[in-house]
């Protein structure tokens, strides 16, 4: 693990006498490698190492008998600080309907997460409505209908129809039927697809979501910054949900998404079952990224 290798590196360096800026930098090369192997974005790592170096060349580390541990604490705190705060749970509008819009690349887990959020809302005494706004993927509507049925939550869908108008009508339908938490499941799309990105802007325009969440696969590599940045620049999302964290991916995408958009990770998906949604804890994520 990085903890072990850093301790080894710094003990060896300390053996050479007083620690200097140079040998701290050498030790931090290990950190750089670990963060890149954890899929943290290259530029994010570069900035982070620079900040950590400034902190690590302080007297505390130089005088310490366990410089490796000191440096690890600095890195850990830096990661936690960067990814914080602890995931703020969703809050709902009193009285009026709350519209939650899910967006993201193909296959990241939007439909499953939509159902998970609707289940969460139900458990908090809300009256959710799931909206099948993916009219493009084969059986996407059917997929959401089945999940809705499993949860006893209604699903709004249409036979054909364009997503922006469909979503607008879904909100009107919710208001009529006393549903106060509307979860919009949109089709997966590339951030470089201008037509589909503009469709999302139109859905946003027509439904005025209270929360837009960027759903991101936790095993995403260096490209996480590209998609996160573009979705954020076009939609100003409120937060991200990192999915499939029940695997062994180190999840560096978490840091990349937060660093490049400034938006917090609100929840994490930890399984295919609909109860497998947890709040995001930056300290747990920091330990995971550091391996």
């Amino acid at each position: 693990s990085i903890t072990k290798s850093l301790e080894t590196v710094f003990d060896r360096l300390r053996g050479k006498g007083r620690l200097t800026r140079e040998n701290i930098q050498e030790g931090l090369r290990e950190v750089r490698t670990a963060l890149l192997e954890a899929d943290v974005n290259y530029k994010v790592v570069k900035d982070l190492i620079q900040r950590v170096t400034e902190k690590a060349v302080g007297e505390e580390v130089l005088q310490s008998v366990t410089p490796g541990q000191q440096v690890i604490k600095i890195i850990y705190d830096e990661l936690v600080g960067l990814m914080g705060p602890v995931g703020q749970p969703l809050t709902f509008q009193e009285g009026n309907p709350t519209v939650i819009m899910l967006v993201g690349l193909h296959g990241c887990g939007k439909t499953t997460t939509a159902a998970k959020l609707a289940k969460l809302a139900l458990s908090k005494g809300r009256k959710p409505l799931l909206v099948a706004a993916d009219v493009q993927r084969p059986a996407a509507v059917e997929q959401l209908k089945i999940l809705g049925k499993q949860l006893g939550i209604p699903v709004y869908s249409e036979n054909g129809g364009q997503p922006p108008l469909l979503c607008e009508k879904a909100v009107e339908h919710a208001i009529k039927n006393g549903q106060n938490t509307i979860v919009l499941d949109t089709a997966g799309r590339l951030h470089i697809d201008e037509e589909l990105m503009s469709e999302l802007r139109e859905i946003k325009e027509r439904t005025k979501p209270h929360v837009i969440l960027f759903v991101c696969d936790a095993m995403t590599g260096q490209d996480a910054v590209n998609s996160a940045k573009e979705f954020n620049s076009q939609l100003e999302f409120d937060g991200a949900i990192l999915t499939k964290l029940d695997g062994d991916t180190r999840g560096g995408a978490a840091l990349s998404v937060k660093a490049v958009t400034g938006k917090p990770i609100r929840y994490v998906g930890v399984g295919e079952k609909l109860e497998m949604l947890e709040e995001f804890y930056p300290d747990r994520m920091a330990s995971r990224i550091l391996g």
């Binding site: 059917e142 590599g221 260096q222 029940d246 180190r250 295919e272």
Partner: protein
């Protein structure tokens, strides 16, 4: 990279950054850069244009003589099993493969081996209809191996040329799900000798270093014979498939370039490597 510059540290750092950002992996890139520095010092590489050319040549030579075609059975049906983590693009990639065979005039049968996920069977059914393939399916919750077995029976009886078996997405770290996959492979081989002739791992091109763990564990479970690199039409470069070749030798055979049945291409190592440097 500007051509005609002499080689300096800044250029090398730029190149290293580009390859890491293409998901090649910090250690494989490190090794590549070390070899490059030796070539610069020995005078084998003398300017910026030479740097790029040298790196491309080093990467391309790894593909010399490697077999990138699908393993087809000498007697039909050829059986292709498709696996991968959740949401990687398996079902859509199967439709693309089926469409490719159908256009060659082959009879294709799809096996709805994902009996778990909501509307997985319906999704494959729609694709079968679109590409003119037959489909074998059971009810939700059925044993996936039973579906696979059934599909082979039907394929033999009907003289089908290619059977493609869809499986449920699963994380490679889930032991029980990986054994389920191994069981399906055994069932296929018991019904038809040498089946499955091809076991494809569908990898999402946006995946980072976790792809190596995926490849390793799926290979252990079902001896993957090829990679289908899906979603390469995005901005991700899929460099991890190069980075992993030091540890896990699995040839990339196809790439997915969109959501339509025709958005498939055979893997072209030359074009892929050139694109890493764009």
């Amino acid at each position: 990279f500007a051509l005609g510059q002499t080689i300096d540290e800044h250029l090398l750092e730029e190149i290293e950054a580009a390859l890491i950002e293409a998901d090649m992996g910090v250690k494989p890139v490190g090794r590549l850069m070390e070899e490059l520095r030796r070539a610069c010092q020995s005078g084998e590489v003398t300017d910026a244009a030479g740097v790029k050319g040298h790196l491309k040549a080093r990467l391309k030579e790894r593909f010399k003589g490697r077999k990138l075609e699908l393993n087809m059975s000498p007697t039909p049906p050829t059986v292709i099993m498709v696996a991968g983590v959740n949401g990687s693009g398996k079902t859509t990639s199967i439709a693309k493969l089926g469409y490719m065979f159908a256009r060659e005039g082959k009879q294709v049968l799809l096996a709805a081996g994902d009996t778990f996920r909501a509307a997985a069977v319906e999704q494959l059914e729609i694709w079968a209809g679109r590409i003119g393939a037959q489909i074998i399916k059971h009810q939700t919750g059925a044993d996936p191996s039973a579906v696979a077995y059934d599909a082979l029976e039907a394929a033999v009886a009907r003289g089908v040329d290619v059977v493609i078996v869809d499986t449920a997405g699963r994380l490679h770290t889930k032991q029980n799900l990986m054994s389920e996959l191994g069981k399906m492979k055994k069932v296929l081989s018991k019904r038809i000798e040498h089946a499955p002739h091809e076991v494809l791992l569908v990898l999402d091109a946006t995946t980072g270093q976790n792809a190596i763990s995926q490849a390793r564990l799926f290979k252990e479970a079902v001896d993957i014979t090829g990679i289908f690199l899906a979603k390469l039409d995005g901005t991700a470069k899929g460099g991890v498939v190069l980075g992993m070749q030091d540890e896990i030798k699995i040839p990339v055979k196809f790439v997915g370039l969109g959501e339509k049945a025709e958005d498939i291409q055979r893997f072209d190592p030359e074009g892929f490597i050139d694109a890493l440097f764009d």
